[in-house]
C-alpha cells in the first residue's frame, strides 16, 4: 500500500483544522503518516496521533523548525519522502510556502489546491479564480499536493492510535531566520473554520465605520468577520480578513456579504458557502447572482436594523 506523508499545521501547541482536511484527502491515496515539525512539539505529536486513520507520526523537534521556515523544513520532508509516495499539505500560507520547495527538490510538478481525489494520480483543482475546474493526471512517480480545506471533510480528532517516532533533524540551513510576527488576536471565530461569516466591502467607507456596522452583526450571529480585497486594500481591516482568490477560501453554513459588489476574485473565495446572503444598495450588483437571499438597501440603515432585530 502506498504511503502518504501529511504536513501537520499547528499553532500554539494545537493541531489546526486545516490538517484534518488534508488527512482526509491523504486517506484516499493510501496509508496516512504525519509529520510534526517544530520546537517543543510533544503535545502536538500526541494530539496528532489520536487523529482517526493515522498510522505513523514522525516528529522532528528542533529550534530550526520552530517557525516552519521552508529553507529548513523542506530538506527534512525530502529525507522522509524516500519512504513515502506522496506529500500532502493543507493549502494554508505555510503549506503553500513549503510544498513547492519540496516538489522542486524531488523534481516533481506539484498539484495545487486540490478539490477531489479521482484516483491515485488524478485530481481536480480550480483554475482561473475558480471559474474553471481542471482534472489533471500526474505523470510523476511521487506526488506533491496541497489540499483546499473546504473541499474535504475534516478527519475525526479522536479515534486514531498512531505510532509516534522521532526523526533526526536536518538542521538549520542558515539561509533564513524568523524576525517577528504580528498575529491578530482573535476575538471571534477563525474565518476558515467559522460556521457563519459576515463580510464587509468598500462601501463601509472606513475602518471605524466597518467596526461599527459589521462587528455588532457578527457578534449577534457568533460569526467570523471577513472582508473583500477592496476593503483590505483601503485599510479598513488587516490582510488576514481577506476572502477571495488570493485571500482565504471559505465555505461556511451562512455567508453574509455586506456592501460587497461581488467581483469574480471575491466570489472565488466564498461561492461554495451553503447559504449566501447579500446586502447591497445596487440591485444589479453581481453578488445577487450568487446570493440565496438578497436585500437591496442602504447598508447603513439596514444592517443596524438587522442587528437590532436579531
Amino acid at each position: 500500500m502506498s504511503k502518504t506523508l501529511v504536513w501537520v499545521e499547528h499553532e500554539g501547541g494545537v493541531v489546526k483544522d486545516a490538517t484534518l482536511s488534508a488527512v482526509t484527502a491523504a486517506g484516499k491515496l493510501g496509508e496516512v503518516h504525519l509529520l510534526v515539525a517544530g520546537q517543543g512539539v510533544d503535545g502536538v505529536a500526541a494530539e496528532a496521533a489520536r487523529i482517526a486513520g493515522v498510522g505513523k507520526v514522525h516528529v522532528a523537534d528542533d529550534a530550526a523548525f520552530g517557525h516552519a521556515l521552508a529553507e529548513n523544513v523542506a530538506p527534512l520532508i525530502v529525507a522522509l519522502m524516500e519512504h513515502h509516495d506522496a506529500f500532502v499539505a493543507p493549502a494554508t500560507s505555510n503549506g503553500k510556502n513549503i510544498a513547492p520547495r519540496v516538489a522542486a527538490l524531488l523534481d516533481v510538478m506539484q498539484i495545487s489546491d486540490i478539490l477531489s481525489v479521482e484516483s491515485e494520480d488524478t485530481f481536480t483543482r480550480p483554475i482561473y479564480a475558480g471559474n474553471a475546474i481542471a482534472t489533471v493526471k500526474s505523470k510523476d512517480a511521487k506526488k506533491v499536493i496541497t489540499v483546499r480545506g473546504t473541499a474535504f471533510e475534516k478527519a475525526a480528532k479522536e479515534g486514531g492510535n498512531g505510532v509516534v517516532e522521532a526523526v533526526a533533524s536536518t538542521g538549520d540551513k542558515g539561509l533564513s531566520s524568523f524576525v517577528g510576527a504580528e498575529i491578530a488576536k482573535l476575538e471571534r471565530p477563525e474565518l476558515t473554520s467559522a460556521k457563519i461569516i459576515v463580510s464587509g466591502g468598500r462601501a463601509l467607507k472606513d475602518g471605524e465605520t466597518f467596526e461599527q456596522v459589521i462587528f455588532p452583526l457578527a457578534d449577534k450571529l457568533g460569526a467570523a468577520v471577513g472582508a473583500s480585497r477592496a476593503a483590505v486594500d483601503a485599510g479598513y481591516v488587516p490582510n488576514d480578513y481577506q476572502v477571495g482568490q488570493t485571500g482565504k477560501i471559505v465555505a461556511p453554513e451562512v455567508y453574509v456579504a455586506v456592501g460587497i459588489s461581488g467581483a469574480i476574485q471575491h466570489l472565488a473565495g466564498m461561492k461554495d458557502s451553503k447559504t449566501i446572503i447579500a446586502i447591497n444598495k445596487d440591485e444589479d450588483a453581481p453578488i445577487f447572482q450568487v446570493a440565496d437571499y438578497g436585500l437591496v438597501g442602504d447598508l447603513f440603515k439596514v444592517v443596524p436594523e438587522l442587528t437590532g432585530k436579531l
Binding site: E11, L69, A70, E71, K96, N97, A99, P100, R101, V102, A103, A104, D107, M109, Q110, I111, S112, T122, P126, I127, Y128, G130, N131, A132, I133, A134, T135, V136, G174, L175, S176, F178, V179, G180, A181, E182, I183, K220, L221, V232, D233, N239, D240, Q245, T246, E253, K271, I276, I277, E283, V290, A291, D292, Y293, G294, V296, V302, E305, L306, L310
Partner: protein, 249 residues
C-alpha cells in the same frame, strides 16, 4: 545589485474566463491579455529598489509565446532596463519555468529575484518557491514589505494569522502579495523609450532545459453554477430567513 523579474502574459484580470465547449481548456481567442497583476507589483518593487539606489539594473524575463514580448515591453516601459524572452508555444508548467529561470540566474547572478506569488490563470503559486529550491536560495513568499540592508533582505509576509517577518541572506527569492505596492502606469514617453530597450530572444533549448509537461489536463469544466435566489423585501423578511436557517434565535 541586479534584480531579475519574471513576468507572465495572462488573461486580463477584468475578463471573465469562458470554458471551451469541448472541455479542453479556457477560451483565450480574442481575449484581452495583460501582465499578471502580481508580476506588475514585482516589476514596481524592483524599479523602486533601483530608484532608491539599492539595485543597479532591472531585468525582466518572460517565458511564453511571441506575444509575451508585449508584456516585456510593458515592464520596460514601467522602468526595467532590459528584457529576455524565452519563446515557446508550449505551455510550460511552474517546474519548467523555475528550471529555465534558474539557468537565467546562473548567467545573470542577480541579488534578488522578485516574482508574483501566483499567476491568475493556473493559480498554482509555485514558481518562486521552486526556483528558490533549485538555486538553494532562501525565499520570502507573499511579501507585503521588502527591505534590503547589510547583505540581507527583511521580508514581511502575509500569512494566515496576520504578518510575519523573516530575514534572508542574499541572493534571495521574493514573491509579491497584493499590498506590497501600487504599480505605476507607464507614461507615453516611457512607452516610446521602451521600444528601443534591449530585448534578447531565446528558446528553452538554448538553456538545455526539458520543459515537457508532468501534468496532463484530462478535461476542464465550468464549476457547478449557483443560481440566483430571491430578493427579500425588508429586514423583517431577512430575519425570518435567518431564523429558518437556524442561525438566529
Amino acid at each position: 545589485m541586479k534584480i531579475l523579474v519574471p513576468v507572465k502574459r495572462v488573461i486580463d484580470y477584468n475578463v471573465k474566463p469562458r470554458v471551451k465547449a469541448d472541455g479542453s481548456g479556457v477560451d483565450l481567442a480574442n481575449v484581452k491579455m495583460s501582465m499578471n497583476p502580481f508580476d506588475e507589483i514585482a516589476v514596481e518593487e524592483a524599479i523602486r529598489l533601483k530608484e532608491k539606489g539599492v539595485a543597479t539594473e532591472v531585468i525582466a524575463v518572460s517565458i511564453g509565446v511571441a506575444k509575451a514580448q508585449e508584456t516585456l515591453r510593458t515592464a520596460l516601459a514601467m522602468g526595467a532596463d532590459r528584457a529576455i524572452l524565452i519563446q515557446t508555444d508550449d505551455e510550460v508548467e511552474p517546474l519548467g519555468v523555475a528550471k529555465l529561470l534558474a539557468k537565467v540566474q546562473e548567467e545573470e547572478g542577480a541579488g534578488l529575484i522578485i516574482l508574483g506569488k501566483q499567476a491568475i490563470d493556473d493559480d498554482s503559486n509555485q514558481t518562486g518557491q521552486m526556483l528558490a529550491a533549485l538555486l538553494g536560495l532562501p525565499q520570502g513568499t507573499f511579501a507585503s514589505k521588502v527591505e534590503v540592508a547589510d547583505g540581507n533582505v527583511n521580508v514581511t509576509r502575509e500569512v494566515d494569522g496576520g504578518l510575519e517577518t523573516v530575514k534572508l541572506t542574499l541572493p534571495a527569492i521574493v514573491t509579491t502579495d497584493l499590498r506590497l505596492n501600487e504599480p505605476r502606469y507607464a507614461s507615453l514617453p516611457n512607452i516610446m523609450k521602451a521600444k528601443s530597450k534591449p530585448l534578447a530572444q531565446k528558446t528553452p533549448a538554448d538553456y538545455g532545459v526539458d520543459t515537457s509537461a508532468r501534468l496532463e489536463t484530462l478535461k476542464v469544466v465550468e464549476p457547478a453554477k449557483r443560481s440566483a435566489g430571491v430578493k427579500v423585501a425588508d429586514v423583517d423578511e431577512l430575519v425570518a430567513k435567518l431564523k429558518a436557517l437556524g442561525v438566529a434565535a
